[in-house]
């Protein structure tokens, strides 16, 4: 019985939860400002949730976690930078950015999906490198693009856009501050969490529609799907489109909460962090649920948020970035080496 419970929670999740609990306890004992920390955890959770949820469609459709998420992310960045270029502010800017990035992301996802259908079985490797290449290609774009907004280009004759664009007064923390309130010392980013919840509900409904079900059938067993008259490639394509569109919207929401748009190499490893978050939540490379995405996003980000101050106090050095690298890649390795699926029924 205890064993099956352990199986259900999963060893990595258990270790990370315990580690998190340990860090929270030490943060308490060091007398760190817990209210701020919990607030930051909630914000980071909301910032990243959509990017992690974006993994679900491709995993469910059998194309594995979307390592090609940068295809969507750069579309989001284009949308966000365009909003500033047009000198938009507040919700106009946010809605414009999302409105532009989602169709762009969907288009990029469509192209990426066409590629994925030709490289079945190798989606992860190909996706990773295609993602890397598109990010470095976009670096050239950021350098050359004819943007003029003084907030974005280098002030003194440098080439192209700045590495980080400040969103102060544009859409910085727009959602975070919406209906925001504090409990004790914890600030709740209500708007951000509400948006996350809405995304979850929409995704949940979609996954239950005929198309969503078909996608999940295709991912679960492509031969079954074919025998059921489904066009496997079509549904994998749809999954890629949705995933990249979510990634595009996700990075806009991420950026507004963060207060900066990060350009150039910044999106390089974002897919990896999203992949590891959903795996930490207990998903496998073949199956993932919304709950797993949410749990994983929370655990992963909470850990990073709390590790930084605790490490600073405890050992006077920045171990949090190192930890992020080790944990996120460690969990992906774990998933890669796990037997494809559970034991034989016999």
């Amino acid at each position: 019985m205890g064993n099956s419970l352990l199986n259900r929670i999963g060893i990595p999740r258990l270790i990370i939860s315990l580690f998190l609990a340990f860090l929270v306890a030490s943060a308490f004992s060091y007398g760190l400002p817990m209210g701020q920390i919990f607030g930051a955890m909630l914000t980071r959770f909301g910032m990243n949730a959509l990017l992690v949820l974006a993994m679900i469609p491709t995993i469910q459709a059998g194309a594995g976690p979307n390592f090609g998420l940068p295809f969507g992310i750069i579309c989001g960045l284009i949308g966000a930078t365009l909003a500033i270029e047009l000198d938009l502010r507040d919700f106009t800017a946010l809605f414009f950015a999302i409105g532009v990035s989602v169709p762009l992301g969907a288009f990029a996802g469509w192209l990426y999906g066409l590629l994925l259908n030709r490289v079945k079985g190798q989606e992860m490797t190909v996706g990773t490198y295609m993602g890397f290449s598109i990010v470095s290609l976009m670096c050239i774009f950021w350098l050359m693009a004819p943007y003029t907004s003084p907030e974005m280009v280098w002030p003194y004759g440098g080439d192209g856009l700045r590495v980080t664009v400040v969103l102060d007064g544009r859409m910085e923390q727009l959602l975070d501050k919406l209906w925001s309130f504090t409990i004790g010392t914890v600030r709740i980013p209500t708007g951000l969490l509400v948006v996350t919840a809405i995304c979850c509900v929409l995704l949940w409904i979609f996954m239950k529609t005929r198309t969503g079900l078909a996608m999940s059938i295709v991912g679960s067993n492509p031969r079954f799907a074919e025998a059921s008259g489904l066009n496997v490639n079509k549904y994998r394509l749809i999954a890629s489109v949705i995933s990249c569109a979510m990634g595009a919207a996700g990075i806009v929401i991420y950026s507004q909460s963060y207060g900066f748009i990060q350009l150039y190499q910044a999106p390089l490893y974002m897919a990896l962090y999203s992949v590891s978050a959903i795996l930490i939540g207990g998903a496998s490379l073949q199956r993932a649920t919304i709950t797993q995405a949410l749990i994983g996003t929370f655990l992963f980000n909470a850990l990073l948020v709390i590790a930084l101050p605790v490490a600073n106090v405890a050992m006077d050095s920045d171990i949090s970035e190192i930890m992020r690298v080790i944990i996120s890649n460690g969990i992906i390795l774990y998933a890669l080496t796990r037997k494809e699926v559970g034991g034989d029924a016999r």
Binding site: T125, T128, S133, L137, C139, L143, M144, S317, I332
Partner: protein, 357 residues
Amino acid sequence: MKLIQKNIVPIVFIILCTIGFQYSGLSWIFFANDLMTRLARNSFLVISLIIPVLAGMGLNFGIVLGAMAGQFAAFITVVHNLTGIGGFFAACVMAIPFAILFGWLTGILFNKAKGKEMITGLILGFFANGIYQLVCLIFIGWLIPISNKALLLPSGVGFVNTLDLKIWQYAIDKFYVFRARGIDIPVLKYLNNINIPVLTLTIVVLLCIAVVLLFRTKLGQDFRAVGQNRHIAEIAGIKVDRVRIIAVIFSTVLAAWGQLIFLQNIGNVQVYGSHVQVGTFAVAALLIGGATVSKATIGQALLGTVLFHALFIVSPLAGKNLMGSAQVGEYFRVFIAYGVIGIALALHAWQRLVKKQ
């Protein structure tokens, strides 16, 4: 026509390099010298990829771990101040146990992720980099005492960003560097002004011969058999898992030496950066030479190293002259490295899928 089709990748890059060279405005001499240096210091790393390819494990992105092994050995020589060619060879010897250990662990991991070696190797590289940072940034000076405080960050914990390797810089490069003289044949006369690191090149040539010879041994035959079909090799009684681990160990040890050759030419270690892109650049070079995920030769490795680094030399200047920004060239070559790998992997996966159907 078939010849062109077969070698389309190198041909495209030869054209790209030629155009780039034209626009870079570089002199032949400078270009050739730079290329010679880069060929000498990088080809070893590229050759280290061949064995796993032939053993059917694809492109070993895990050679990053080999580079780390080399760097650990380099740190030891710095800490103990082992200088000159003796210091360099001491580093080569000390790198072996690290590399064998890392290669063995990588091999075990690859055996658990059969068919997904490449993505596993890539992620393993990132993961190992985290562990590496943990050791170099946190453990050094804390758990691992270092007497020479000049090597450490002001806090006394962790290595500084750049470690000087002057103690054995050019340890082998400087041997028998000669300039060919008195050649007065058109084209060839350019050789007159080129520095040729004879010893380094000799070592590379010896390595090439060794790899060729390896494939004439029983072990080499096993590599090839396992590379073609694990199942049939297993039926024939070959211990497939063991052979695969040995292939990875070979690759990792060679990569460690390759990294040391690289470092002795550069003359310093970027403690947190020198190794990071080793896998990507070596793989890209091999692929540019015309290799695929399942086929690679020494000729392809050498040709690829030349082409990839030629592009490396010319692209910033060409970028500046063409687009008015050297940055464009920098990003362009990164894009080329990633793009070549991405496209090669995609083509390979596609072909395999088509074959299956």
